[in-house]
Amino acid sequence: MLEPSPENPAPLIHVEALTKRFPGVVALDALSLDIAPGIVGLVGANGAGKSTLLKILLGLLAPTSGLVQVMGYVPWTQGTLLRRYVGYMPEHPALPPDISATEFVANAGQLSGLPAKAARERTADVLRHVGLAEERYRPIGGYSTGMRQRVQLAQAIVHDPRLLLLDEPTNGLDPAGRDEMLGLIRRTGTEFGIAIVLASHLLGEIEAVCDHLVAIDGGRLLRAAPMAEFTAETGILTVEVEEGRDLLAAGLVARGLRLLDGSSAHDRTVRIALDGGAPFDIVRDTVADLGLPLIRMERGRHSLEDLFRDDLSAAPAAGERP
C-alpha cells in the first residue's frame, strides 16, 4: 500500500459532481467517484471523457463545477505542488526528436522537482527499468514507436510519483510491443508501488492489467468496482457431453436441477443454474448412471465485454455508483 502524500492521508482521488463543459459539448457530466490506490482502469469509448478527466486530475484543465481532490490537493489551484507527485503519459507522442532519451528524461525529472544530481541518477535507473540500454544516448528521432513509448513511460516515473496517469499507453504499438508495455505498467503498479490510473478504450488491456475498473460514457459514470466483480464466476454451470445431451438434460431435471434457456439442442452442452448450490456430485452421478461420455464441466465467468455491453445498454439505470 502506498502513502498518498506526505502531507495528506486523504483518499487518492476524490471527485464529486464534476462537470466540464467545452463550448457546445459537455465532456463530464456530474461525475462522482473515489479512486483508491492500485491499478485502476478507466474505460470508455473515444470521446467518453477519459482524457478530459485525466487533464482535470492533473490540474491542466479547470473544472466547470464540482470538487476534485488528488492526494488532498485541489489540482487546478495547487497544480504545481500536486504535480511533483504525479506522472503523466499523454495519448499522443510528445517527444522532441533531436535530443537523447537520457537528456530528455533527466530534464523532465528536474522540472518535476528533482535536484539535478538526483534527476540524472534516477534517469539511469528508470531507463533501465523500461528496457532502454545503449540507445538512450542517441537522439529520440531515431527510435522505434515501442522505444518512444518506453521513453514516455520513463519520463512519467522518473520523479518516483505516487500516482501515474496513463492515457492510452499502447497507442500505435504492435501486439508484441503492446504486451511488453502492459507488462511494464503492471510491474510499475505492483513492484514499484505506484498507483496507476490507466485510460483505455481497449477492454482487453484493462482486463490484463487492472485491479479496479471505472467505466464512463458520455461524461457520466457507468460503474466503478473491483475487476473481480466484473469477471466474477457466474451462477451457471456448463456441462458438455459427446452425445446424449437430451438424456442428460432429462436426468438432471429429474434430480431437481434447474436448466437454463440457451441449453439448445444443436450444441452438446447443458447449462445448469447453480442457485447457490453446488450440484457437482449430482451431475457426476447422473452422467455416470447414464454412461455418457463427459467432455467438460465448467463454471462460467463473466468476460469484461459482457458486462460492459450490459452496462452500456442499461446505462440510464446504472448511473449510480454501486
Binding site: R83, A94, A116, Q155
Partner: protein, 307 residues
C-alpha cells in the same frame, strides 16, 4: 544511488532483465516552481548558444558573439596604437554610445534564428503537454524562455562594452581615474542593453509563438526588424505632413536606437528618428511599450496554447 548500475555490461534481451537491480523509490527533496523555472531558463540559455548541441548549432551563436567582440577589440587596438595610424584625437573612435548601432544586427540575427528554435520544437512535437504536466505553470514556461533569450541577447550586447571598458582602463596610466570614467558609462550601458535585450527577444518570441514552422518564423522575425524601417523611410521621404513623422514609432529598430540615444544622452544617429525629429523620451517610452507588450502577449499566448 546508481552505484553498480553501469557496472553491468551490455547484454541481450529486450526486456532488459539482466539490468534489473530492483526499483528504488525517491525520498529526497522535491523542489518546486522556482527550481523548474531555473531549469528551463538554464536549458534554454544553453540551447541558444548551442552548448551541449552539435557543432553546427554552435556556429551562428559563436558568430554573433565573436563579431561584436572583434569590433570592440579593433577599437581598443586603434586607441592603443592610434598614433601609428595617424590618429591624433582618440575621440573620433567609436565608443560606448556607438556600440548599440554596431552590434544590434547580431542580436537580431541571433533571435531570428534561435527564438523559433526555442519555441517551435515544443509545439510541433507536442512536447508542451509534458512540460505543463510538471511542477510549473504555463506562465513559467513562457517567462523562462523570454528570460533566457533576453539574457543571451544581453550577453552579446554587453561583451563589446566590457572589452571597451577593460581596454580603456588598461591603456590609462591612471587606472583608478580610468575606472571612474568608465564606471560613469555603465548605468547607461546597462539600461540600454537590458531594454534592447528584452524588447528584441520579446518581439522575436511572440512571432515564434504564433508561427511554429521554424523557417517561416525566422523570415517573419527578420521582416519585423527590417521591413518597417524601409516603409518608414519611404513615408518620411514623401513628407506627407506633421502627423506622418509618428510612423517611426512603428519601426522597432529605430525606436530602440532612440531609446539608446536617450540613455547615453547623445543625439540619435543619422536615420529615421533624426528626420522625424521627435523627442528621445518618446523613443524610450515606445521601447518600453514594445518590451512589456511583447512579454504580455507571449504570456497570454502560452496561457491558452493547446498542449
Amino acid at each position: 544511488m546508481t552505484a553498480g548500475g553501469d557496472r553491468v555490461t551490455a547484454g541481450p534481451g529486450p526486456t532488459g532483465s539482466i539490468y534489473d537491480i530492483g526499483y528504488r523509490g525517491y525520498d529526497g527533496p522535491r523542489l518546486g516552481r522556482r527550481h523548474a523555472f531555473v531549469t528551463l531558463f538554464v536549458q534554454a540559455l544553453r540551447a541558444t548558444f548551442g552548448v551541449g548541441r552539435s557543432g553546427r548549432a554552435k556556429v551562428l551563436p559563436a558568430f554573433c558573439l565573436a563579431l561584436p567582440a572583434l569590433t570592440a577589440l579593433v577599437i581598443v587596438a586603434f586607441s592603443a596604437f592610434g598614433s601609428r595610424f595617424g590618429i591624433s584625437d582618440l575621440r573620433v573612435l567609436p565608443g560606448h554610445p556607438d556600440m548599440a548601432g554596431a552590434v544590434g544586427v547580431f542580436a537580431t540575427l541571433l533571435v531570428a534564428v534561435q527564438a523559433p528554435e526555442l519555441l517551435g520544437r515544443d509545439v510541433r512535437y507536442r512536447v508542451l503537454s509534458l512540460y505543463f504536466s510538471r511542477a510549473l505553470l504555463r506562465i513559467d514556461y513562457a517567462l523562462a524562455k523570454l528570460a533566457a533569450l533576453s539574457a543571451a541577447v544581453l550577453i552579446i550586447l554587453l561583451v563589446p562594452h566590457v572589452i571597451l571598458t577593460v581596454g580603456a582602463v588598461l591603456l590609462t596610466p591612471d587606472v583608478l581615474g580610468g575606472l571612474g570614467r568608465e564606471a560613469r558609462w555603465w548605468p547607461a550601458i546597462l539600461g540600454s542593453t537590458i531594454l534592447t535585450a528584452i524588447a528584441t527577444a520579446g518581439v522575436a518570441l511572440v512571432i515564434a509563438a504564433f508561427i511554429s514552422r521554424r523557417a517561416y518564423a525566422t523570415v517573419a522575425i527578420f521582416g519585423v526588424f527590417i521591413v518597417p524601417a524601409i516603409i518608414v523611410g519611404v513615408i518620411l521621404a514623401l513628407q506627407l505632413g506633421e502627423a506622418s513623422r509618428y510612423v517611426v514609432l512603428l519601426d522597432p529598430g529605430t525606436v530602440l536606437d532612440a531609446a539608446n540615444a536617450w540613455f547615453f544622452g547623445v543625439a540619435p544617429g543619422p536615420g529615421a528618428w533624426s528626420i522625424a525629429d521627435l523627442p528621445l523620451s518618446l523613443g524610450l517610452a515606445a521601447s518600453i511599450v514594445i518590451a512589456v507588450g511583447a512579454s504580455a502577449i507571449l504570456v497570454q499566448r502560452y496561457r491558452t496554447i493547446a498542449a
